[in-house]
């Protein structure tokens, strides 16, 4: 058991001490950890809301909480999870920490703006928390007008302000990443030598920069309508509530790709490292990230098929939606093909990667269902859609996020996590997830509408199954929380490159020194060239 300091060598963790050295840090690695801490809080907050929702739905009559409280629970679950966990999740933590290292830079292009981004997320989060503590908000995370502007008596403004401020955090992170990838690459690090995680984060940044401002202005208009009665969407003045939905989904559909593209980036790293092969069709996978980012902006109207949007627009949006399926399918096929004749390790991160591919495949394929006009009319606003997007967001993004966290944990902390517990929790999460959300596909096709506090008794059996699955899932999420904290003190010391990976981040000591590289590396190899590392592979454990 090692109880002394991690190592005597200077690294980004021991270079300075005290709260102030963290709150005023400009080191992208420390800022990444600040984000990690913040979004973990929001993840467990959102998880607590989800737990209450699932317990409530055990019985059809709705006995545990009132309808008003129930509506606030699902709203705050959505707000906390989407705006304060999923959107910052991978880019702001793992991206912040590793993107500069992977391209061979000492930091992001604008370290002070990076710190500002974190403060903006915290301020936005405090607004959101204030709204939740003061009484909650009950509009649904979608804030549809005129309910949100005229009829709701809850804390809409505080929540909207929180999202507005957090939006700027997201914009500035995206801006920082784009400039960094363009201007800070090490000599020899050409675009087609970039790790696919960098490509994915670059594509994500494009969405953050192009989409988030539209959400910002939509919130400004919502705010004006609620507070100053400047009615842009007010039907009483001849305004159109559907215009709000267009503006909202112009951001919020691409936002789905803000959440899932970085996850795909993590996955490319994991699949390559743990099968010790370059990703099959590297260029196609890289381009498909950008293609998803671009095409993702052309499909938002598929959320509006029954909204009184014109039939013709519905057809255009349905048609375009199928184009996003292509690059997503390409990625899944290429990851699978990478495994072929590889040297496949079953380390924990790879188990998460297998889980991601499976769940994302189901989530993606059910996306074809909801993109199809005839089916969507029936399943939209039902549990089918709830199940579909949880397969993408939880089954996809959170699986990849946890996989990435395990993968880079030795580099971040200089400690190994306990492998056995980690494998166990990966499997518990996979099973719990499927038990929770698969029954919801059936519920949805049966016609169970979403956001229902009280429901007809014939849906109870499936709801009970879902709640049981959720309890398993909750246990699955609690285990890593415990052993990650445990490993900080008691974990085995991590070698510099425990997995035999190729990225530049593994060429630094674990944990890395304050400025990442003593000398800026010169890149001479393609990404994922395992012939350069296989000789120096170190034994784990």
């Amino acid at each position: 058991m090692i109880t002394a300091a991690v190592t005597e060598r200077e690294n980004y963790l021991n270079v300075s001490h005290g709260l102030k050295s963290w709150l005023l840090t400009k080191d992208h690695k420390r800022i990444g950890l600040l984000y990690l801490f913040t979004i973990t809080l929001f993840f467990f907050l959102g998880g607590a809301f989800a737990t209450l929702i699932r317990i409530e739905l055990l019985t059809p009559q709705g006995g545990l909480v009132s309808s008003e409280t129930y509506n606030k629970l699902f709203t705050m679950h959505g707000v906390a999870m989407i705006f304060f966990f999923l959107i910052p999740s991978i880019p702001a933590t793992l991206g912040n920490f590793f993107l500069p290292m992977m391209i061979g830079a000492r930091d992001l292009a604008f370290p002070r703006i990076n710190l500002l981004s974190w403060y903006l997320l915290v301020i936005g989060g405090l607004f959101g928390l204030f709204a939740m503590l003061a009484g909650g908000v009950d509009t649904g995370w979608t804030f549809y007008t005129p309910y949100s502007t005229t009829y709701s008596n809850s804390w809409v403004i505080a929540t909207a302000l929180g999202i507005f401020v957090a939006g700027f955090s997201s914009i500035l992170t995206g801006l920082n990443f784009i400039v960094t990838v363009h201007r800070m690459r090490a000599p020899g690090m050409t675009w087609f030598r970039l790790p696919l995680f960098v490509w994915a984060n670059y594509a994500t940044s494009l969405i953050q920069v192009l989409g988030t401002p539209v959400l910002a202005v939509t919130i400004v208009l919502l705010f004006s309508e609620r507070v100053f009665h400047i009615g842009i969407f007010d039907p009483a003045l001849g305004g159109d509530p559907v215009l709000f939905q267009h503006l909202f989904w112009f951001y919020s559909h691409p936002a789905v790709y803000i959440m899932v593209l970085p996850a795909m980036g993590v996955l490319s790293e994991l699949v390559s490292t743990f099968s010790r092969k370059p990703i099959f069709g590297y260029k196609l996978v890289a381009f498909s990230s950008v293609a998803i980012a671009v095409l993702g902006f052309l499909v938002w109207g598929h959320h509006l098929f029954v909204s009184t949007q014109s039939v013709y627009a519905g057809m255009v949006f349905s048609f375009l939606s199928y184009f996003v399926a292509i690059p997503s399918a390409i990625k899944v096929f290429n990851w699978t093909a990478t495994l072929y004749k590889g040297s496949i390790s079953y380390a924990t991160p790879m188990l998460y990667a297998f889980g991601f591919i499976g769940l994302f495949t189901i989530g993606g394929l059910t996306g074809l269902f909801v993109a199809s006009l005839g089916i969507d009319v029936h399943v939209t606003d039902t549990y089918f859609v709830v199940a579909h997007f949880h397969y993408i967001m939880v089954g996809g993004t959170i699986m990849a996020y946890l996989g990435g966290l395990h993968y880079w944990w030795p580099k971040i902390t200089g400690r190994m996590y306990p492998e056995l517990w980690a494998r166990l929790s990966a499997m518990v999460i996979f099973l719990g997830f499927n038990f929770t959300f698969f029954p919801q596909f059936i519920l949805g096709y049966l016609g169970m509408p979403r956001r229902y506090h009280v429901y007809p008794p014939e849906f109870q059996v499936l709801h009970v199954m879902s709640t049981l699955g959720a309890s398993v899932l909750a246990v699955g999420y609690a285990i890593p929380m415990v052993y990650f904290v445990w490993s900080l003190r008691y974990g085995k010391l991590a070698p510099d490159n425990p997995w035999g990976a190729t990225g530049l981040e593994w060429k630094t000591p674990s944990p890395p020194p304050p400025h990442n590289f003593d000398r800026i590396p010169i890149v001479e190899h393609e990404a994922y060239d395992y012939s350069t590392v296989v000789g120096e592979v170190m034994e784990v454990g």
């Binding site: 292009a109 400039v179 363009h182 539209v214 202005v217 842009i232 503006l247």
Partner: protein, 222 residues
């Protein structure tokens, strides 16, 4: 490599390898920020397009109540401020430290004039009950709702534009203080350049707001 004296004036930050890299990064960063601004105002332009198509008549009548001469004059004021701004950037490129300060001050003053005129116009709207809300009343048109939509958009668009102007004025003030201290030279002028980009962008937004808000079917007369 940069000498001691250089390091002080050029302020090369540790994450960069060269001054050119630092300058490029700052300029690119500002351009990307301007994209976000285009999309931000884009939402308003979209709402405007939708409602103007629907309520062409009401928009024409409501637009006619704005004073076109004040609007045009204010446009000229703002364009002049863009000219002085670009001359300030040019002075910086040439390393004329005094000229930088003077052109920046001129820009600031013209920006202030624009905001003053805008405030006067808003006050007029207030007097005329053209502020959207319960007290809204627009004479000569039975269609109060769409007329109110026009003014909602008018205040949202000019208000957010003015907010950007106020931020610009703040940035100019900071620049003037630094310029007066002689911080800028031909080899270090990135802040002037970047604020210049921002200022011109705000000008471009107004270039579109002016015809869209003030100049709808003026031939109809009031």
């Amino acid at each position: 490599m940069a000498s001691q004296i250089h390091a002080e004036t050029l302020a090369l930050r540790e994450q960069f390898n060269t001054e050119a890299q630092q300058k490029d990064a700052a300029t690119l960063g500002m351009w990307i920020f301007l994209i976000t601004e285009i999309m931000f105002f884009g939402g308003l332009f979209l709402a405007y397009t939708v409602y103007r198509r629907w309520y062409a008549d009401a928009f024409a009548v409501a637009s006619s109540s704005l004073n076109v001469y004040i609007g045009a004059a204010n446009t000229v004021v703002l364009l002049s401020s863009s000219l002085t701004m670009v001359l300030a950037v040019r002075a910086a490129q040439l390393g004329k430290r005094k000229a930088i300060v003077w052109f920046l001050v001129l820009t600031l003053l013209l920006g202030g004039v624009f905001l003053g005129v805008k405030a006067y116009e808003w006050n007029q709207k207030f007097v005329e009950h053209h502020i959207p809300g319960p007290a809204f009343h627009f004479e000569g048109v039975a269609q109060q709702g769409p007329a109110q939509l026009f003014f909602s958009l008018y205040f949202a668009m000019t208000g957010l534009h003015a907010l950007h102007m106020v931020i610009g004025v703040g940035l100019l003030t900071l620049l003037i203080v630094q310029a007066a201290k002689g911080r800028f030279s031909a080899s270090y002028m990135t802040p002037v350049d970047v604020v210049g980009l921002y200022w011109h962008f705000v000008d471009i937004i107004w270039i579109f707001l002016f015809p869209l808000l003030y100049l709808i079917d003026r031939h109809l007369g009031k």
